[in-house]
């Protein structure tokens, strides 16, 4: 029920802060990760207000923003409601996210992510069963078959959550899911090219091969290299984006 765990994280109550923005981010992350799939109907405004612990007005604001970002479509009348649109439309919103962090913040996110993913790979090699290895192998195939940016990013994120699950650690898995909402747009977005895809499929295959062989050190080394390779690609894109900013703006 791992996907249910991921969905529960999407709909968990919000603590505080700019609530409409937080609702937008949560749902946008859920869509980017593929936890909410294209054409899926979102819960009603009242239900969303309940689950997030915010007012219906806040939910309406958030849905308006999501519509403007092209992530959600609202249909009127019988059978109407808010529906998830294809994540490809969200590419510009994801570029915004990459612009909103600085190089040191991106590097720090990758460092944190390496700590979780590297340990997940280490432990998965010691603990993964045949079923786990089969799921990870299927995950490699999913990335190989992905034909668009959204699909590649979803496959990438799923693989890492499966890897943490194979480590048999609920905490590491929850940490992976929580980090995917940040890492997905920031590290996996710049890899949404066919060339990077082939390279990442090879990296995933190397991780799975080491996990299947029970070689924890090698699995961790491959996982660490995989994340830092993504950081290097993301940094190139980010430096380009930040280099064009107004230096006096926020």
């Amino acid at each position: 029920m791992r996907s249910d765990g991921g969905r529960a994280a999407v709909f968990a109550p919000l603590e505080s802060g700019r609530r409409a923005d937080a609702v937008v981010r949560r749902l946008a992350d859920g869509i980017a990760l593929g936890l909410l799939v294209p054409d899926e109907q979102l819960p009603s405004e009242t239900e969303l207000a309940d689950t997030f612990g915010v007012s219906p007005v806040t939910v309406r604001e958030a849905l308006t923003a999501l519509r403007e970002q092209g992530l959600v479509a609202t249909r009127r009348g019988r059978g109407g409601g808010s529906f998830v649109r294809d994540a490809r439309a969200g590419a510009s919103a994801l570029h915004e996210r990459l612009r909103a962090v600085s190089p040191s913040e991106l590097r720090d996110l990758a460092d944190h992510y390496v700590a979780v993913t590297g340990t997940a790979a280490l432990l998965a090699a010691a603990r993964a069963g045949e079923q786990d290895v089969a799921l990870l192998t299927a995950g490699v195939g999913e990335l190989e078959r992905a034909t668009d940016a959204g699909g590649r990013r979803r496959a990438e994120s799923r693989f890492h959550v499966e890897l943490a699950a194979a480590a048999q650690s609920p905490r590491l898995t929850r940490a992976e899911i929580a980090l995917q909402t940040e890492v997905g747009p920031l590290l996996w977005l710049p890899t949404a090219t066919p060339a990077a895809q082939a390279e990442q499929v090879r990296q995933h295959a190397a991780i799975v091969e080491a996990v299947a062989a029970g070689d924890g050190q090698r699995a961790r080394a491959h996982a660490v290299a995989h994340v830092y390779a993504a950081l290097a690609r993301a940094s190139v894109l980010q430096l380009g984006l930040l280099g064009e900013l107004d230096p006096d703006g926020d």
Partner: protein, 255 residues
């Protein structure tokens, strides 16, 4: 976008200096207040913690400026200056909502969790050199909990019996990302690899992904270049352009 020629190293240096001077201007304002509050010490009068508390007003004021880069500021008093507190500080940080909050670290040296600030570079360097200092970038786990640069200026007094004494520092924190965002557009337009580094060779911001913020550069021996003194120093294809009056330099590396 209009095409513009690549900025010179001098232009980058000027921009860094301007950003740092803005921060030091706020700190210098606090020093004026601190000098006044600590003046009785130089007149032989005894000073208590309550006597320096009025610095809170000006500190909160500079933190409260909209879009201010400052995330923390205040006065940190040297040991044995106040009669009722061997260690003391009036330091404020901005919380997540931008509201100033007073920092309340454990300053009782008898306590296990005592925070001995008297060994930290933002306190010791201005004390030893008598000169302002920029510490970092570093993880300021106590105050901002962010990747931070701390700007400090020493405060001295002359006690009738004890002579010239270090009375403490006034300072302010900025987060590294603020400098990164303001310098990248300029660095981006430079042709070769360029990094703003501190004296130990740690990257503050650079225009190459390989020169990641926070890394200590191995491509050039920055401390050795630094020791050659003010002005430009070159070695093995790397040139360090030290900024005047700041512990920062612009390092130009071979492409």
């Amino acid at each position: 976008m209009p095409t513009t020629s690549a900025p010179t190293v001098a232009e980058v240096a000027d921009r860094v200096v301007a950003l740092c001077e803005t921060t030091f201007a706020a700190v210098d304002g606090l020093r004026g207040v601190a000098d006044q509050l600590l003046l009785p010490f130089s007149q032989g009068a005894s000073l208590a913690a309550a006597d320096v508390a009025p610095i809170d007003g000006p500190v909160r004021q500079i933190l409260d400026v909209p879009r201010s880069p400052l995330v923390g500021a205040g006065l940190v008093v040297a040991p044995d200056v106040l009669v009722d507190a061997r260690h003391w500080m009036q330091w404020w940080t901005r919380d997540d909502d931008g509201q100033p909050q007073q920092l309340q670290p454990e300053l009782d040296a008898e306590e296990e969790s005592f925070w001995d600030y008297t060994v930290l570079p933002w306190f010791t360097v201005p004390r030893e050199t008598g000169h302002r200092h920029v510490t970092g970038p570093y993880v300021d786990w106590l105050c901002t909990q962010e990747y931070t640069l701390t700007f400090t200026v020493p405060v001295f007094g002359t006690h009738p019996e004890r002579g010239r004494c270090h009375l403490g520092v006034v300072g302010a924190d900025i987060v590294a990302s603020w400098l990164e965002r303001r310098l990248l557009p300029l660095l981006h337009r430079m042709d070769g690899p360029v990094a703003l580094v501190n004296a130990e060779g740690r990257v503050v911001v650079a225009n190459r992904p390989a020169l990641v913020t926070g890394a200590v550069l191995r491509q050039a021996d920055v401390p050795a270049l630094w020791r050659r003194g003010p002005g430009d120093a070159t070695s093995g294809g790397a040139t360090l352009h030290r900024l005047s009056d700041l512990p920062l330099g612009v390092l130009v590396l071979a492409s």
